[in-house]
């Protein structure tokens, strides 16, 4: 039974202008103290008036629908230009970066615009995807799973990637060699257990996972699970009483059982 986590201030960003967008959502969780007064007034009103409660529920639903809209599949592009182009378009639309085999990294600029030249490479597979900070969720992974020759996938600080998404990555087992999950707030050790399908994985980054209850022990277990993979982040000495400086700084060495 997990202790209840800090409430997601899903409605507050609508009221507080400064917390729009994905980066704003993570800031909204941190700014608890200053928003408590505003929140308690809203709570007071919502407890007493059905209209206010219905309005708040509606705003909550709208937030959820926004994320769904961002993760919709682009079926026309998939039919016309192939799965690789559709996946690349999806990632670029979300604000990430894509690298085709033999080409340079393609990224959208500050305004969200990007060139559509990559639609011409129909048979060229996508090699690497950097979706750090994007609002990709379980539905959005559909577009990524069609990229059969994906070598490296970076999902750092994605707020909606959770254990369910990790359970879905097994179709990429043949090609995926590098996976980074650093800083994802919803991933716990239970999702990491489903990574054992990815037998070709050589680098796995699991640093800064706040939902993991015991990072050091988790890292040891993940290393045992994936013997040929280098697991980064989560120093195994974390949580142990701090000893002298001779504590191993070399994170790549496997721990003998």
């Amino acid at each position: 039974m997990a202790a209840p986590r800090a409430p997601l201030h899903l409605v507050m960003p609508v009221w507080n202008r400064g917390t729009r967008g994905i980066r704003g959502l993570s800031r909204a969780v941190a700014l608890e103290g200053s928003q408590k007064k505003g929140r308690s007034l809203l709570q007071f009103l919502a407890d007493r008036f059905y209209d206010v409660q219905a309005l708040r529920e509606y705003l909550l639903q709208k937030q959820v629908l926004k994320v769904h809209q961002k993760n919709r599949p682009f079926t026309y592009i998939k039919e016309r230009f192939g799965p690789h182009a559709a996946g690349a378009y999806f990632i670029l639309k979300q604000g990430g970066a894509v690298k085709f085999q033999g080409k340079e990294w393609i990224r959208s600029d500050a305004h969200g615009h990007f060139s559509l030249d990559f639609l011409k490479f129909q048979a060229v597979p996508v090699e690497a995807v950097n979706a750090s900070g994007c609002a990709i969720n379980y539905q959005g992974l559909d577009s990524l799973l069609a990229l059969k020759e994906l070598r490296s996938l970076w999902l750092q600080r994605c707020p909606h990637v959770d254990d369910w998404c990790l359970g879905r990555l097994h179709p990429l087992a043949n090609s995926l060699q590098e996976l980074s999950l650093a800083g994802c707030p919803r991933i716990s050790e239970r999702g990491l257990a489903s990574l054992h399908h990815l037998q070709n994985l050589r680098r796995l980054d699991i640093s800064d996972l706040h939902a993991v209850s015991n990072p050091g022990l988790t890292r040891i277990l993940v290393e045992e699970m994936l013997p040929s993979c280098q697991v980064l982040g989560a120093d195994w000495a974390q949580g142990l009483p701090s000893g002298p400086d001779e504590q191993s700084q070399d994170k790549a060495s496997p721990i003998p059982a």
Partner: protein, 486 residues
């Protein structure tokens, strides 16, 4: 005389003029008028028209449209979907009657919490698929404004079912059905098993089926509390009491073939308050029997099964309590983090629990060894004799282990075909069943709740067709047998 009359007249006149002063006889008139005015105002204002002499807030209401007997995960799921699918909002009054608000004997709280799609009956697979989708989006379905999001701690590790030579053909056909319904299951040979899970001893295993996605285990208590919280915010009333009596009326009609049938309709449910002799008759339109392991007793109270055996009136609800043990042990050299929920061909099962090399497991006893369901005491010899040997044979690392704790829970076991009963009773027209799931009720609860709500509100199933699970199959003898009961 004139003087006296003048005095009296003057006096009254003076009295009349002195209405402004509250002295003497004028006060009496004033008070009477004030109390009359007060009474008038009170009768006009809402509320306060009847003040009971004592507090009755612990009693259920006198009228309720739907009474759900049983507040476990199935009952709460039915309440949730009724409130969610009703049109217009707030149209239906729902009352959930739960005898034990600590859920100390409820199957939900004591469950191992697994969810799988590896069934042989297609309806079971569909129910499980929808339930898993529900769990994945639980924070959208059960979101309550200003409350923290739910973390059901789902482990997406999958189920691994092992089959011996005898069961291999059945397993293959089952996997075909599962794939058709959309479950992601793959078949593995013993060689592949050894490569993937080196800690398994594949002696005696001919085939294995492994669920890749959407299978695993989660925390059922969190689901229960989440449902309870959401359902309370939607306006469902809860009552802490026990159903002791149904007051019903009968009417005789003829069927199309000329037979005489007696149809019953429940009018009132008597709810007895815990630790008291007091009861409240609740007038209701529908009763939903979601009492789990005790559904058989509730059905008997309603008159299901009172008749000559062999007729529809005489067909009882074949759901009874069966006790099942779960043991928690620690094995330092046991299987690693990737361990799925392993179900051996012999019926013994185990799964990992947490990071510390603890494992949960058990085994379903055979018919002859069924323990007495009168209490929830654990028999530790059962572990030594029936659970440990097959598991130690299957996973050699389990030869050294230490049992940390154990508990027992009830299955609402359907003795007919070990599958649920969903839908109305043919003779007691306003009693609906949602029980008898024999150990897989938790994994099907959200979908069953939706199905019952559709039946109640629309009269037929809309999304998943659960007509094969109707009560009449007990009379007609049509078994919907599930081949994978754990």
């Amino acid at each position: 005389m004139l003087r006296r009359a003048l005095q009296l007249g003057l006096g009254r006149g003076l009295l009349g003029r002195r209405l402004g002063t509250h002295r003497g006889g004028s006060t009496l008139d004033q008070n009477g008028k004030m109390s009359e005015i007060k009474k008038k105002i009170q009768s006009v204002l809402p509320g306060g028209a009847w003040n009971p002499p004592y507090d009755t807030s612990y009693l259920p209401p006198e009228h309720s449209d739907v009474v759900i007997v049983g507040g476990g995960v199935i009952g709460l799921s039915v309440a949730y979907w009724l409130k969610r699918l009703e049109k217009p909002r707030g149209a239906i009054r729902v009352l959930v009657v739960e005898r034990d608000h600590t859920y100390s004997q409820a199957s939900t709280a004591l469950s191992v919490g697994g969810i799988r799609q590896q069934f042989s009956v297609p309806e079971n697979i569909q129910l499980s698929l929808f339930s898993v989708e529900f769990l994945r989006n639980i924070n959208e379905y059960l979101a309550v404004v200003d409350d923290p999001p739910l973390d059901i701690q789902f482990n997406p590790s999958g189920y691994l079912l092992l089959a011996s030579e005898k069961g291999a053909a059945v397993m293959e056909s089952n996997v075909k059905v599962q794939r058709q319904e959309g479950a992601k299951v793959c078949l593995m040979s013993p060689e592949q098993l050894r490569n993937k899970f080196p800690w398994i001893n594949t002696e005696g295993v001919a085939l294995a089926s492994y669920g890749m996605e959407y299978e695993g285990w989660f925390d059922p208590w969190c689901l229960l509390q989440g449902l309870r919280r959401k359902v309370q915010s939607m306006g469902v009333l809860f009552c802490h009491g026990e159903v002791t009596r149904f007051v019903s009326s009968s009417s005789h009609t003829e069927t199309t073939s000329g037979e005489e049938v007696t149809l019953k309709r429940i009018h009132e449910v008597h709810v007895k308050i815990d630790r008291s002799l007091e009861y409240q008759p609740v007038e209701c339109a529908l009763v939903i029997n979601a009492a789990g392991a005790w559904s058989g007793q509730i059905a008997e109270l309603a008159g299901v099964g009172k008749g000559p055996p062999g007729t529809l009136q005489g067909t009882k609800l074949p759901v009874e309590r069966r006790k099942r043990y779960v043991y928690l042990w620690h094995c330092p050299q046991g299987p690693g983090l990737e361990t799925p929920f392993v179900v051996d061909a012999s019926g013994a099962y185990f799964r990992r629990e947490g990071l510390g090399n603890n494992y949960l497991g058990g085994c379903s006893p055979t018919e002859e060894e069924e323990p007495d369901p009168g209490n929830l005491e654990v028999d530790h010899d059962f572990f030594q004799d029936k659970v440990w040997p097959p598991l130690a044979q299957r996973v050699p690392a389990f030869e050294t282990l230490k049992v940390r704790s154990a508990w027992a829970g009830y299955y609402d076991y359907n003795t007919f075909d070990q599958n649920g009963v969903v839908g109305p009773h043919p003779l007691v027209v306003n009693m609906y069943f949602a029980t008898g799931f024999s150990g897989h009720g938790l994994q099907q609860a959200p979908a069953v709740g939706r199905a019952v709500a559709e039946m109640v509100l629309d009269g037929h199933f809309q999304t998943i067709n659960l007509n094969p699970f109707h009560f009449s199959r007990f009379y007609l003898g049509e078994k919907v047998q599930e081949h994978n009961i754990i």
